[in-house]
Subunit: 168 residues, 2 copies
């Protein structure tokens, strides 16, 4: 359920993010509606990389509800607040991830269960800047996704299917 294979985020950090969202809303004169808070709770309360559909599903699982448009609009507000980052892993839909103030990181995507793992590598940051310059580009950002099989899926397909989204 948590999906954080490396360092699960502490409850304190999650609570801080939730409070930060309330502050953001207040400072921007945006109403703190029940829907916004519920959606923020879902996205900020996990280390997973959720699709808009995942968010709606999680809401229902927690007894909350919000229209599709509200989910998308609130995700947009969360992204603008800087607390959430939008991701596109070329799956045909976008995912949303709590940013936790972490600067930049790469992603490993399991092609079997859809689970996402993060890692950071300083060399890559430098390399991409140099590679861009070598081709007369000024680098703004980069995106690396490594597709492969996670340990669980490699060992046994039965291990876990909970992370599989949009499956047939």
């Amino acid at each position: 359920m948590s999906g954080g294979h490396e360092t699960p985020t502490s409850a304190a950090a999650i609570a801080a993010d939730r409070e930060a969202f309330r502050v953001f809303l207040r400072e921007h004169n945006l109403p703190a509606t029940a829907q916004r808070l519920a959606i923020a709770d879902v996205v900020l309360g996990t280390d997973r990389h959720l699709s808009a559909d995942d968010v709606a599903r999680e809401l229902r699982a927690h007894g909350a509800r919000a229209g599709t448009a509200t989910v998308y609009r609130t995700l947009e507000v969360l992204v603008r607040s800087g607390l959430v980052v939008e991701r596109d892993f070329a799956e045909g839909f976008k995912r949303y991830e709590a940013s936790r103030g972490i600067p930049h990181h790469e992603h490993l995507l399991c092609t079997m269960c859809g689970r996402v793992t993060e890692f950071r590598d300083e060399r890559l940051e430098r390399m991409t800047t140099l590679l861009a310059e070598a081709h007369d580009f000024s680098r703004q950002r980069h995106r690396l996704v490594i597709y492969g099989l996670c340990g669980a899926c490699r060992r046994g397909p039965s291990s876990s299917t909970s992370g599989m989204h949009h499956g047939s």
Copy 2:
């Protein structure tokens, strides 16, 4: 118009690819229709990374025509033939690129004019395999896209807008 900033593909190589597609169709008992050949000519005849819409536009510019469904279905055949590779640069649509038998390469995408430049880097190949292993993943493939400004756009916005797709 050509987009090949590094090493423009020779006319001979293009002709070889076109012939290879004819052979592929023949070997698979697929009719070599005028539409298929026209679409193959467009995609195999450039070094650019075209969207399905670009292909349709180019067809019209060359006096040819094909329905949207035919464009997509033919692109699929071209991908199956191995002569073309499908790309997703998180722009909301896919692009198609003549593969020219080149193993694997990374992409630089100009965020201003949409132009794509390719480069190859052996270290990256090795690095991604090692990084995956370090996180208990078995690497299948990876995708690196560096977003930035190309030299032309950095120097003057007036230089070229021809590569801009889906603007405004």
